[in-house]
Amino acid sequence: MIGLRGVEVAAGAFSVGPLDLDVPAGEYAVLLGPSGAGKTLVLEALAGVRRVRAGRLFVDGADVTRLPAERRRVGLVFQDGLLFPHLSVAANVAYGFHRGNGERTGWLRRPSAERLAQLAEEVGITHLLKRRPQTLSGGERQRVALARALAARPRALLLDEPLSAVDVEAREELQEVLRSVCRREGLTVLHVTHDRAEAFALADTCALLVDGTLRQTGRPQDVLRWPADEAVARFLGARNVVRAVRDESDARLAHLATGVALRVADPLPAAAVDLVVRPEDVEVWPVGAAPPGAANRLRATVVRLVLQGGHVLVGAESPAPMEALVTARRAEDLGLRVGAAVELTVAPACVHSIPTT
C-alpha cells in the first residue's frame, strides 16, 4: 500500500501538490500527466531521495515521511535503467540482496544463488547475467533494473517512465513482463508516465495529474468514459467538447448553441453542461445511409482529413464542429474528401456530460 496525504514537493521554483493518493496493496497504479507536471518529484519523495515540503508519505501502512531512503524498502526503476556501469548484470541484481529484513545490513545475508537464478528467470535475463550493462539494449536494461529492484524485496515499486527509453518494438514485451511480474509478486506499484497508451495498457488505477493537481482517479476505462473535467477530457483525446443546456422538459436532451440538440443516455446533471464525445464514437455515413433507428443524426460537411496511422481523423462542420475517427479503409469506402456531405451519428450512451463550472 502506498499513500500520499497532502504531499507537496518542490524543486527550485517548481512545485507540485498538495496531493492525496491511495494505492491499495497489490494494485498497479499509474500516475498520468503531461511532461513537466512534477511526476518524477513525487516518486523521488516517496523513495526518500527528495524531501517533501509538506504532507505525509505511507508505505505498507507505515509513515515513512522521516525515514531515510535505505529503510523505506521501496524499489525504484528509472527511465534509463541506471544500471551500475562498473558491475556485471549479476552483480547489479545482487546489489540489493544484502538488505534482507531491512534492519540488518552489510554482507551478512549473502544471496543464495537460487534466488538470483529465480529472479533472472522471472524477468527473462538468465542469458544476460554475465554481461556488462553497456552491452545491453534498452529493453534488456529495464528488465535488469526491475530484477535489481525486486531483489531487495521492496514493499512498493516505483517506476519512472520505465518504457520511454525502450524501442517501440520491445515496449510491448516489456509491458507484458512488468504486468505479469508485478501481479505474480503481488507488488504495489506506482508507475508515472506521460504516455496515455502506456498508462491504459498497464493500470488497474489511473490518476491524472494536470497543472500540479490530481484531477481524477479511477479505472482507466472509467476515466476515459467519464472524464471529470474538460482538461482531463482533452488530455485523454476526447476532441469533441461542446457547451450545451438541458432541455426544460426532457433531462435527457441537450441543446447546443448552434440549435442542434443531442440525446444523451443519462439525465443531464446540471442545467449547463459540457458534452464530451470521443471521435472514435462518432460514426460517419453517406447522406441518408445512417441506420434508421439512430438517435443523434447530424448532417455535416467534411472540412479536414488527417491520416493517423490506420485511421483517418475526419473534421466536420454540422454546423457545430465535430471530429470523427474512422479506419482508413472505411474512409476510402465512403470516398471521403474535403467538401463532401456526410451524415454523423452518435449513440446517446457515447455522450458524456460534465456540469459547467
Binding site: E44, V49, F78, F84, R148
Partner: protein, 268 residues
C-alpha cells in the same frame, strides 16, 4: 570565389595554430633534446640533484596525501549538496590558482611563520615552517590543492546522482552509496586530480623559495645553479624535472582521462 573563402578562413586558423604550436614545441623539444644530449644522466650522477629530486617528490606526495584526505570529501560535498555559501566556498578553493606564487609564499609566512598565528601555535611542539620540509609541504599543498579538489568535484558531478538514489533504495547508506557506487565510477578522475596535484607540487617554485630556500627542491636548485653558474649548469635539474612533469602529463591525458577536452561532435 565562395569556395575559396571557405578554405581561406580555415587556412588562416590553421596558420595561427601552427605558429602557436611551434612556439610551445620549440622549448619543450630543446629540453627533451637535452635529455638525449646526456644532461639527464649527468643530473642523476650528481648527489645534490638526486637528494633534491627525492625531497621534491616526497614532499609533493605528502601534500597530495593530505589534500586527498580532506579534499575528496569536500569535493563530493560540493558536487552533491546545495547550501548557502557553496559558490563562495568553490571560489575560495580556487583562490590558490590565481594567487601569485611569491605573494602566496609571503601570505603563508604571515600565518605559519614564527610570528604568524599558526606558527606561534605550533612552535611549542617544535614544528617550524621556515627552512624545513614541513614548510615545503605547506607551500605545495596551498598552491596545488585546487587541482585535486576541482578535478574530483567535476568527476563526481559527472556521475548521475540518481545512481546513488537507486543504491539508497537498495539499502545503502549515503556513505555506502558513495563507496560502492559513486567512487568506483569516479576513481579515475580522482586519481587524475591527485596526479595533477602532485605534478603541480613538484614544479612549485615561487611559494617554496620564500618559505624554504633550504632544503632545496629541484626548482630552487635550478634557480640557484642558473644564478651562480649560468644556463649550462642549470640544465641538468631542469631537464630532470621536465621529464617527470611530462610523464605525469602523459599518464593523465592518455590513461586516466583519455576523453578529456574532446569537443562535442556528430549525431546520427
Amino acid at each position: 570565389m565562395r569556395g575559396r573563402r571557405l578554405s581561406l578562413f580555415w587556412a588562416a586558423c590553421a596558420v595561427a595554430g601552427a605558429l602557436l604550436v611551434a612556439f610551445v614545441v620549440l622549448p619543450a623539444a630543446s629540453m627533451i633534446a637535452g635529455a638525449g644530449a646526456g644532461f639527464l644522466g649527468e643530473a642523476l650522477r650528481q648527489g645534490d640533484i638526486r637528494r633534491s629530486l627525492w625531497l621534491t617528490v616526497s614532499a609533493a606526495l605528502i601534500a597530495t596525501a593530505i589534500a586527498f584526505v580532506v579534499g575528496v570529501p569536500l569535493a563530493y560535498l560540493l558536487a552533491r549538496r546545495d547550501f548557502v555559501g557553496k559558490r563562495a566556498i568553490e571560489g575560495i578553493i580556487d583562490l590558490p590558482i590565481v594567487f601569485p606564487h611569491t605573494a602566496a609564499g609571503i601570505a603563508l609566512l604571515m600565518v605559519w611563520g614564527r610570528d604568524g598565528i599558526m606558527g606561534r601555535l605550533l612552535a611549542p611542539f617544535g614544528i617550524s615552517f621556515t627552512e624545513t620540509v614541513a614548510g615545503i609541504v605547506l607551500a605545495m599543498l596551498f598552491v596545488s590543492l585546487p587541482f585535486l579538489v576541482d578535478t574530483s568535484r567535476e568527476t563526481f558531478a559527472l556521475v548521475d546522482e540518481r545512481y546513488e538514489h537507486v543504491a539508497r533504495t537498495l539499502g545503502s547508506s549515503p556513505g555506502g552509496a558513495f563507496l560502492r557506487v559513486t567512487f568506483p565510477q569516479a576513481w579515475r578522475g580522482v586519481l587524475a586530480g591527485a596526479v595533477l596535484m602532485w605534478g603541480r607540487g613538484i614544479s612549485e617554485f615561487g611559494a617554496v623559495v620564500i618559505l624554504a630556500y633550504n632544503p632545496k627542491v629541484i626548482s630552487v636548485l635550478t634557480f640557484e645553479l642558473f644564478e651562480g653558474f649560468g644556463l649550462r649548469a642549470a640544465q641538468p635539474p631542469a631537464v630532470l624535472i621536465v621529464i617527470v612533469a611530462f610523464v605525469v602529463f602523459l599518464v593523465v591525458r592518455t590513461v586516466l582521462l583519455p576523453r578529456r577536452g574532446r569537443s562535442r561532435k556528430g549525431s546520427a
